[in-house]
Structures are given as structure tokens and as C-alpha cells.
């Protein structure tokens, strides 16, 4: 039986962690993810979990400690945001290439400069090529549900990759919403125990991790890692199917909102999708064929499936909540446009960078995007490919 509660995204994640009871949690605080280890420290203090809780001296060390623990044969988790994730950058790549299924909760926050504690995806998008699986949630419920699925995906023998569960800093991490929690025992049963094949502390078979790989071997290791990321697609769907069967809530690579006959569509991520859905509803009431795709799984990127979902759409606005400084669009745009490259009659597409550093995104703003799409569809002219939205003009 599920339990109705009111929790912030951070507490929802901490609750999921408590229910899973990982062996090691190495923490270093950073806004807005700090509450996750704080809640967890209280669970440790109250004897509700039997996790080794290591209070390290930096994010570089928190992920390094997770790496050591996971390689030693146990489940290891941590949480971070923004500069903390950037500080982990080097170790993220080591974790992924060492094929260690660490689960990392990220309360996504802008990167410095200027320093800013509010939400955008500049931190997680900067790590999109680190080899971590990345799963994003729109609200507390999704973030909690995603977390319950995380270990099973990451630890699957065909995958064995670390995984980020991403929530929107403050918007999701701190806002208290209604949520359906699952029973502790049901969660434990769903997630299961961790049984790694080989690990440092295994008696019979010592293990060596992290070799120097010369040119004769490096490429094979990378190709195997790339294959694991491809394999993750099936595992993500399998775990989602079992999750739906067990707990009744349905998940996929992305959510299609009123896309059946949509002519104008947004591709968007996270909490902003909730705002944009309100705009879609308003337009639908006026007879406008508007729809929306909310990306849940960014790594592995569901390119083929996304292209299929965009079939028949006339104009698409890709909504990037991070600035990639490529001078030709943000990361979500690059992936989406790339996914559609060989599609016959592909839709016209523009990229809109919005909401940086917590800049508000309103229903009116979303409506203005659909207005623009209406014009693109009518004229067949995409106009400027890459623009920003919501900034003051002077």
C-alpha cells in the first residue's frame, strides 16, 4: 500500500535512500542538495539505517570514496549540485569507465559565473558525456520513483554504469508537494540486494581496478562502455515496466503530452514541463494542435524513439535550460536535431535557451513559444535558429 505524504524533492530522495539502505554514503554539502545528506545523517543517528556515513572534505573525495566502496563490493551513493558536480568531473569519468554503478543524486543548479544557487541544467549538462546515465524528474513524485529504479538499472549486468538522478534545484528540491511513497518492505523487495560479480574484498579472487590502458586496449574498453550505455535503454524500459506492474506509475524515456496529432511541439525537461503543459492545455482548449515531449532519460539519449514521436509535427521548439556556448544552440537541441537528421519530412526546429540561473518560466512565456511555432509552421521559415528567452533587453 502506498502512503500519502507531503515532501520536498530532497526529502523524497533521502526517503528513497533510507528505504534502500545503501552500504556507504559519502557526503559533502552544497546548496541545494545539502538536505539530502542532512536527512540521511538523522536516519543514521536514529538507527533507521545501517549505512557507513562518511563525511568527507570535498565532492572530489565524496565520489572517490564512493568509487572505492563500490569497487570494494557494496552499494555507494552520494548527492551534489553545481560546482560540486563540476569538482567531481574527473572522478565521474573514472567511475563510469571502471563500470561502477554508483547512484548520484543531483539537485541541478547553475554553474558560476556569476555565482548563482538557483536552477538550471548547466551542471548536469556539462557532465552529459561523463558516461553516467542521467534520469530527470518533473516533480517530487517522479524524482522519488526514478530513484527507486536507479540501482536496478545501474547494477544490471548488461549495464554496470553509474547513474545520476536529477531534480531541479529549489523548484523540486525544496518545494513541498503531495507524494505517494511506497512501503519500506515493498521498496526493498523491488530494488533487491546487490550481488557484484567481482570486487576488491572478494576472498577467492583479488581484483585489480583502474589500469593504465595503452592504445592497444583503450579503444576496446571505450567501445564496451559505449555498448553498456546502449544496453541501458532496454534495461531502463524493463525496470520501468516492472515498476509500473509493482507500483502502478508508468515511465518511459520521455513523456508525450498531447502529442497524438500535435503540429506544434516543445521538447523540454524537468519542472518547466509542468508549466508548459498548462500552456498546451490552454491552446488545446482553443483548438490549437499543441503538444509537448518531456525528456526523462537524457543519457542514454533516446534519439530513435524521439524522432518517431516527432513524426508529423510541423514545428518544434527545443527548450534548453543550460547554455552550451557552442554559438549554435544548447545540448538538448544538438541531441534532438541530431536524432531527426535522417528523418524524412522532419519538422522545422529552433532552440530556445531559457530559465538560466533560476530565471522564471511562466505559462505566458510558454504560450509565446507556441506563438512562434505557429508562425514557423505557417510560413515554413524557422527564423533565427538559436535564441534566448526571458532576459532583459538592456
Amino acid at each position: 500500500m502506498s502512503i500519502r505524504e507531503r515532501l520536498s524533492g530532497n526529502e523524497a530522495i533521502a526517503t528513497a535512500m533510507r528505504q534502500i539502505n545503501p552500504d556507504v554514503f559519502a557526503m559533502f554539502p552544497i546548496t541545494p542538495s545539502t538536505e539530502i545528506p542532512q536527512y540521511y545523517a538523522q536516519y543514521v543517528a536514529d538507527g533507521r539505517v545501517d549505512t557507513e556515513f562518511i563525511t568527507v572534505e570535498s565532492e572530489h573525495s565524496s565520489l572517490s570514496a564512493c568509487l572505492g566502496a563500490e569497487a570494494a563490493g557494496v552499494r555507494a551513493v552520494t548527492a551534489t549540485s553545481s560546482a560540486g558536480l563540476s569538482f567531481m568531473n574527473e572522478v565521474l569519468y573514472v567511475a563510469a569507465s571502471s563500470r561502477l554503478p554508483i547512484v548520484l543524486a543531483v539537485a541541478c543548479r547553475a554553474l558560476t559565473g556569476p555565482i548563482n544557487i538557483n536552477h538550471d541544467y548547466s551542471d548536469s549538462m556539462a557532465e552529459r558525456d561523463s558516461g553516467f546515465i542521467q534520469i530527470y524528474g518533473e516533480n517530487n513524485q517522479e524524482v522519488y520513483d526514478n530513484y527507486l529504479q536507479a540501482h536496478r538499472i545501474a547494477e544490471h549486468p548488461d549495464v554496470r554504469l553509474p547513474l545520476m538522478i536529477c531534480e531541479d534545484g529549489f523548484i523540486t528540491s525544496h518545494a513541498i508537494e503531495n507524494i505517494e511513497l511506497e512501503d519500506d518492505e515493498a521498496v526493498k523487495k523491488f530494488v533487491g540486494e546487490y550481488h557484484p560479480e567481482n570486487y576488491l574484498l572478494k576472498k577467492e579472487n583479488p581484483l585489480a581496478v583502474g589500469p593504465y590502458g595503452v592504445s592497444n586496449y583503450y579503444m576496446e574498453a571505450r567501445v564496451a562502455q559505449a555498448q553498456a550505455m546502449k544496453n541501458a535503454k532496454k534495461v531502463i524500459l524493463d525496470v520501468a515496466a516492472d515498476f509500473e506492474k509493482t507500483f502502478g506509475r508508468k515511465y518511459g524515456f520521455f513523456e508525450e503530452y498531447k502529442m497524438e496529432d500535435a503540429e506544434l511541439a516543445m521538447v523540454i525537461m524537468g519542472s518547466s514541463a509542468g508549466t508548459a503543459k498548462a500552456a498546451v492545455d490552454k491552446l488545446r482548449a482553443e483548438g490549437v494542435k499543441a503538444g509537448l515531449i518531456k525528456i526523462r532519460v537524457f543519457r542514454p539519449f533516446p534519439g530513435e524513439e524521439l524522432a518517431k514521436a516527432l513524426k508529423g509535427v510541423k514545428a518544434v521548439a527545443v527548450m534548453d535550460k543550460s547554455e552550451g556556448f557552442s554559438a549554435c544552440g544548447g545540448p538538448l537541441f544538438a541531441e534532438t536535431a541530431g536524432a531527426c537528421i535522417n528523418m524524412p519530412d522532419r519538422p522545422l526546429m529552433v532552440d530556445i535557451v531559457f530559465g538560466l540561473g533560476g530565471r522564471d518560466f511562466t505559462v505566458e512565456a510558454a504560450l509565446s513559444v507556441y506563438d512562434r511555432l505557429k508562425n514557423i509552421a505557417a510560413t515554413g521559415e524557422p527564423g533565427e535558429l538559436y535564441t534566448h528567452m526571458g532576459q532583459r533587453e538592456r
Binding site: V24, H60, P206
Partner: protein, 311 residues
């Protein structure tokens, strides 16, 4: 049981030949001796910082290590060891590791990975009190990248980023005294040693460090033939000169109590150490005599300070 080199050498090797370390490098000797100090019935997990040792001892698909080994990055050997130790604790607590199994967690890095880039991680792990032993093979510079100066490079040594020249007499600063800094963390066992005699000093310190509960530290001066400029066969002679000149004092600190474990019968002048190595060659050039005097002055001062602590 008294130390017996012959018996020690009859133990099964836990760091194998075939690694790619240079002839005349001290790091391989450190690893073999470190592993001999682990009781044969105990297992070990070695957490190695990036450096010469890592690229030479674990080049895929070969490893020189008999025990479990993990390399993650340059600056995080202590943090990685913290995680391994946490995993060991939790598995023991949950009964998933047999009660009679004893696994020793060792970290090892060069002076780059220990004094400098890995210093924060080391300090954090020492402060948290993890049960592990950190071995530093201090070869006085960043050798893996080609002898750039480190905070362990002694004053006047020529390194590729502090070369000697008409306007330069090598590195300008004295060596960071990392052993003292570790002592100040309150670690229960801290020692300084090098490769000399029948390796009794190294062995006993390594064994004490590994079998003392809590974070322990062994700093081993480990000459590098390429960086220091000496013929491979002079390795042990250079170590001996380092201890007889008191350039590298040999001592241990047990719960804050200092004890000298080697005192030269006759303290030799520093040039006996310096003249054996090309990195100090310029110190012997005409007009640079003052460098040897300054080096001597510094060694004397440090030695007196240490003697006072050992009283």
C-alpha cells in the same frame, strides 16, 4: 620474532617482477617490502595514486600486484581508501565477510600524489580516522611527468621547472616537512624511513603502521635515477648518504612520542649526499659554494629540532 631478512625474502612475493619501473628505481623495493610487512595470512587492498608506480605496475592486461588493487586518480588515493575501508566495515558488520578474515587497507603514492595534489584527500582521511596505512614513496619531484619540482623537492635541486642556470641555483624553497604535518593530525603511528641496511627499519615500521589501528603513515625517501641523476647501482649508497648526512632523518612517532631509530655514528657533511647526484651538480660550481653552506645550515637546524623532540 626478531627480523630476519632471509626469512622475509622466502615469503611468497606479493609485488612481482616484470613491472615496468626503471632499473635503479626505489619504488619497486618499497612495494615489495610493504607487501612483506603484511602477514601472509592477511589480505590487502592497495589504493594507488596516479604516478610512475601505477602506470608501471598495472598496465592492462598485466598486474604486478598479488592482492586486490585500485587506481582511480592522482589526488584521491586516501579518499578511495576511505571508501574501501567503509565498505570493509559495513560488510564485516553485516557478517558478509568472515570474522576471521583480516584485510589491510593500504594507500600508496609518490610525493606529487601525497605532499601536493593528494594532500587534501590525505588530510581529510587522517582527520576522519580511517583504519588504513598511507605509504609515500617520496622521490622528491614529479617523476612521472619528467622531474618537475614538487613541495618535496629539496632546496637547490635542479628540476625541469626549477632548472639551474646563470640566474638560478635550482629550487628556491626548502622541502615541505610532510611527516611533521601528519604527526600534527594526531595519527597514532607516523614514521620516516628509507631503503638501507637489510631493510629492517622499513619492515618494522611498515609492520607497525599496518598493524596499528587508525590512520598511519610511512614516508619513505625513494631515490629516482632519472630525476636525481645517479647510476642505477648507486641507489642504496644514496639512501645511506641521505641518512648519514641527516638530510633524511630516520625516526618514528608513536602516539605523539618521538623516537630516533637511526643515528649516524658520525654525521657526514651534506655534500656527501649532494655530490652523488647530478641534480645538485651546479652547487659545486665555482661561486655557488654558499648553496652547500645554506643546505648544511638547514639540515643542522632540522636535525637539532628533531633531536629535541626525541629527548
Amino acid at each position: 620474532m626478531a627480523y630476519n631478512l632471509k626469512q622475509e625474502m622466502n615469503k611468497p612475493e606479493r609485488f612481482h617482477s616484470g613491472h615496468r619501473l626503471c632499473a635503479g628505481c626505489g619504488a619497486g623495493i618499497v612495494c615489495r617490502a610493504m607487501m612483506r610487512a603484511v602477514e601472509p595470512e592477511d589480505q590487502a587492498v592497495i589504493c594507488n595514486a596516479t604516478g610512475c608506480l601505477e602506470v608501471s605496475s598495472f598496465q592492462y592486461p598485466y598486474t604486478a600486484w598479488e592482492d586486490s588493487y585500485i587506481h582511480t586518480a592522482f589526488e584521491n588515493a586516501s579518499a578511495t581508501a576511505s571508501g574501501v575501508e567503509a565498505a570493509y566495515n559495513v560488510l564485516k558488520r553485516k557478517g558478509k565477510i568472515e570474522a576471521d578474515r583480516n584485510i589491510k587497507i593500504l594507500a600508496i603514492g609518490g610525493d606529487g600524489g601525497t605532499y601536493d595534489i593528494g594532500f587534501q584527500s590525505l588530510s581529510g582521511a587522517l582527520e576522519r580516522g580511517h583504519d588504513f596505512t598511507y605509504f609515500c614513496y617520496d622521490n622528491n619531484a614529479y617523476m612521472n611527468t619528467g622531474t618537475q619540482r614538487s613541495s618535496a623537492t629539496p632546496r637547490f635541486a635542479s628540476a625541469t621547472t626549477t632548472p639551474s642556470g646563470v640566474e638560478s641555483v635550482g629550487k628556491k624553497q626548502n622541502q615541505k616537512d610532510l611527516t611533521q604535518i601528519v604527526v600534527m593530525h594526531g595519527a597514532p603511528y607516523v614514521a620516516q624511513t628509507t631503503l638501507f641496511g637489510n631493510m629492517k627499519d622499513f619492515h618494522e615500521k611498515a609492520h607497525k603502521a599496518i598493524y596499528t589501528e587508525g590512520p598511519t603513515f610511512v614516508n619513505c625517501l625513494t631515490p629516482c635515477p632519472r630525476g636525481w641523476g645517479y647510476p642505477a647501482e648507486d641507489l642504496l649508497a644514496i639512501c645511506k648518504a641521505a641518512i648519514d648526512t641527516c638530510v633524511w632523518p630516520i625516526y618514528e612517532v608513536v602516539n605523539g612520542e618521538y623516537r630516533l631509530t637511526y643515528e649516524p655514528k658520525k654525521k657526514l657533511p651534506v655534500e656527501e649526499f649532494m655530490k652523488k647526484q647530478t641534480r645538485f651538480k651546479h652547487c659545486f660550481a665555482k661561486g655557488n659554494e654558499w648553496t652547500i653552506e645554506a643546505a648544511q645550515e638547514y639540515v643542522d637546524k632540522k636535525w637539532e629540532e628533531l633531536l629535541a623532540k626525541c629527548k
